[in-house]
């Protein structure tokens, strides 16, 4: 009896209402996050229309293989985190924990590859704000391209780190037995947030790696 009572917070009528509120809350938060990225995508669109050649050249300069590899990694991680929600609901917390750990490993791999890319840029003298030797004699549009590149992938990277922190916390709760049927909705929230990270990257991938040239 006391266990059943402890599963939902006092101001909710039951656990179902609490879970509904939590899920709706994260979706609303994602809407807010999308608008945050939307502002940057709008800037990208406006500047790309203004500097089509320079942007096309910049995209071509980025390493398509690394961007594509990162896309594959994030899609795998989205699958594993979704599967972990499924497993937790089915009453298999250890399997779920393993899947969350795999998701975290994917997040690490993504950050390592992104770090390698950044390191390459810095070695070449590509820094945000048009700073660095790489931009000497280059057109203005290329500076704007790389400023946006660092802003958008950087903001995305911050989200990856935050998402991983969230997953670490959820993983520890699963391992301590705090997340188990019927109290599984916190993992939904972590998973949904992780999907946002994936979805944003799915749109960053084409605009920074797949669309060289002008239209």
């Amino acid at each position: 009896m006391s266990d059943a009572k402890a599963t939902h917070l006092e101001h909710f009528q039951d656990l179902e209402q609490q879970a509904h509120a939590a899920r709706l809350g994260i979706w609303i938060f994602l809407a807010s996050e999308l608008l945050l990225f939307a502002g940057l995508f709008a800037l990208y669109g406006a500047y790309r229309a203004h500097y089509p050649a320079a942007f096309g050249w910049g995209v071509d300069h980025n390493v398509r293989a690394l961007g594509t590899l990162n896309t594959a990694i994030l899609i795998c991680s989205s699958y594993s985190v979704a599967k972990s929600v499924h497993m937790l609901r089915r009453g298999r917390p250890r399997f779920a924990a393993g899947l969350v750990a795999f998701t975290l490993a994917c997040g690490c791999a993504f950050l390592v590859i992104k770090g390698v890319e950044y390191a390459t840029h810095f070695r070449e003298g590509v820094f945000p704000g048009g700073h660095g030797s790489f931009f000497l004699g280059q057109p203005q549009g290329l500076k704007v391209f790389y400023t946006l590149y660092f802003l958008m992938t950087g903001l995305h990277g911050i989200h990856v780190v935050v998402g991983m922190g969230l997953l670490v916390w959820l993983l520890s709760r699963i391992l301590r037995g705090q997340l188990a049927v019927p109290h599984t909705h916190p993992l939904d929230i972590g998973a949904v947030y992780w999907h946002l990270i994936d979805v944003v990257w799915i749109f960053l991938w084409p605009i920074f790696y797949l669309t060289p040239g002008t239209f």
């Binding site: 609303i28 996050e33 940057l40 704007v144």
Partner: protein
């Protein structure tokens, strides 16, 4: 309205009353770490009210400065800083958080029969984001002397040697508060309604907060981004809006107004919700059309996202874009007019009780229609070219923000004062102060329409002597307005200690918040509330349900 309402409780019987949210735990610590939405509402109220006083003080100095064409009391640099501080404080630290943060927090859960908002701890976090952000903004502006105006237009904001970066960091933090408050309300309204309380039976104030919350959640991140980019440009020299490095300063304006135009609907929508509640209660009538008011709130919230370009008619928009933004802006006028007609139609053949809240609502209707009509005028591109960046625009948005939002804020303050404090304010003083505020406002801002039309640019320190008469009239008006507000502070503080006990429903309202005690108990209702009748049911059935 006499104080001898059926719910009247004689003085001295307080001892036997069960605990309220106020005296349940009176330690400071329990207030500062509260998760009770009512206490969070009070925290927001006190802080935002202080911000209003501060922003108002800046405005009074600005008005005094304009008594003479040249220097009166401050120099030009101080003038620039003062109008910047007035704008930043009033917009970001008062107008936007004030009604959702204080009235919204206090009332929304009660109005839908919930024990609290969906995420009470997040609600407290939201307050502290606001509080910390506000402190950072104030310290930065005070110590560093911000002089960019509240709009932070690039390229000046990137070059200004003043405290741009710390101020923007503060605003960024305040933005979190706004997003989290909006998120909390949306989830609360969706998931926490009492059994049987359908969407079309919610009090209209809840609808307006719902519309507001959507704007807060969707628009604020774009402002956060815009100010972050300016801070980065200023601090790290990335030049994203710098023409010398291929950037486009006008893009900042797009991002900024994508938030800051919807932000004016964050300010006015909750105010409209207050007006709907006050009109129905004091005219003893159900609204002429509940759906018209509810849906037009949503309409304003939606169309509000498509009007930002009207701030940029002279910033190089194409003729087609300017025309489109002009027409879209006028749509807001249609939704607003639907509301105004519905309110007036609600009053028609109502049983009108002429109390302070309703006097404020009459002021609201007059000033808001005035401001709205001039809004249609400035949405007309050809006219806007003449009025752009003049006192005409200043007068227009003050008619909406002060004449509209602030008068509705005062209406709500008086309307819910008995519910929150359990005390009645003095109706005589209330009516006097309302009259002073209304008259003072009109005298302050009406001359500014004339000044602007005659060519007086906004944000200018000096002006040609032929404008002086109107400036003096405006300044004198600001003193009348301020005196009304100071009187209000006086009698409300007095009523807080010594006002007559209000009872649970001093206005005989049919709405749900009046079903509980005043002040409400810690969990809002002593028993699980049953909302058997509609919130605007002024028939015998509705009356009996409040007995």
């Amino acid at each position: 309205m006499s104080a001898q309402s059926p719910g009247f409780v004689p003085e001295g019987s307080a001892v036997s009353l069960p605990p309220t949210f106020v005296n349940d735990d009176e330690r400071i610590r329990s207030w500062l770490l509260t998760t009770d939405h009512k206490r969070v509402g009070i925290l927001f109220f006190v802080t935002t009210a202080l911000m209003m006083a501060l922003g108002g003080a800046f405005a009074l100095v600005l008005r005094i400065e304009h008594l003479t064409p040249d220097r009166t009391i401050v120099d030009a640099l101080a003038y620039n800083r003062l109008f910047t501080m007035h704008g930043v404080v009033m917009v970001f630290l008062f107008m936007i958080p004030a009604i959702p943060g204080s009235f919204g927090n206090f009332l929304v859960p009660i109005m839908i029969g919930a024990k609290d908002v969906a995420f009470p701890r997040l609600n407290l976090v939201s307050f502290y984001f606001y509080f910390v952000g506000a402190v950072v903004v104030l310290i930065a502006m005070q110590a560093g002397g911000l002089d960019t105006g509240w709009t932070f237009y690039t390229p000046y904001s990137v070059q200004s040697p003043s405290a741009v970066v710390p101020t923007l960091i503060g605003l960024f933090i305040v933005g979190w508060s706004s997003i989290l408050t909006g998120l909390n309300f949306i989830v609360t309204i969706h998931t926490m309604r009492a059994k049987g309380l359908g969407w079309m039976r919610m009090p209209l104030f809840v609808w307006s907060i719902y519309g507001t919350s959507i704007i807060q959640v969707l628009a604020t991140p774009v402002l956060g981004l815009a100010v972050a980019l300016v801070a980065i440009d200023h601090g790290l020299d990335w030049g994203l809006f710098d023409p010398a490095r291929g950037g486009d300063p006008v893009l900042f304006q797009h991002l900024f107004w994508f938030y800051s135009h919807p932000a004016v609907y964050i300010m006015i929508l909750p105010a409209m919700g207050i007006v709907s509640e006050v009109v129905c209660t004091f005219c003893r009538k159900n609204p002429l059309s509940y759906r018209a008011i509810a849906y037009s709130s949503m309409g304003i919230a939606f169309v509000g996202f498509l009007t930002w370009g009207h701030h940029m008619f002279v910033a190089g928009l194409s003729t087609f874009d300017a025309g489109a933004f002009g027409v879209l802006s006028m749509l807001v006028g249609i939704f607003s007019a639907i509301k105004v007609f519905t309110w007036v139609g609600t009053m028609y053949r109502g049983s009108i009780a002429f109390n302070t809240p309703l006097l404020y609502v009459f002021t609201f209707l007059f000033l808001f229609v005035f401001g709205g009509m001039t809004g249609i005028a400035v949405a007309t591109t050809s006219l806007d070219v003449h009025w752009h960046d003049t006192y005409f625009v200043v007068a227009h948005f003050h008619f909406i923000m002060v004449g509209g939002t602030l008068t509705a804020y005062f209406a709500g303050l008086h309307y819910w004062f008995p519910k929150v404090t359990g005390r009645l304010y003095s109706e005589r003083w209330g009516l006097l102060a309302a009259a002073l505020v209304s008259a003072g406002f009109f005298v302050t801002f009406f001359p500014q329409f004339l000044l602007g039309n005659a060519g007086m640019p906004r944000r200018y320190y000096d002006y040609p002597p032929e404008y002086q008469t109107l400036h003096v009239v405006s300044t004198v008006g600001s003193w009348v307005l301020a005196s009304g507000m100071i009187i209000t502070v006086g009698y409300l503080l007095w009523a807080l200690k010594s006002g007559k006990r209000a009872g649970k429903n001093p206005w005989h309202s049919a709405s749900y918040e009046w079903l509980t005690r005043s002040p409400p108990p810690p969990h809002n209702f002593d028993d699980t509330p049953v909302f058997a009748t509609d919130p605007y049911d002024y028939t015998e059935t509705g009356r009996l349900s409040h007995e």
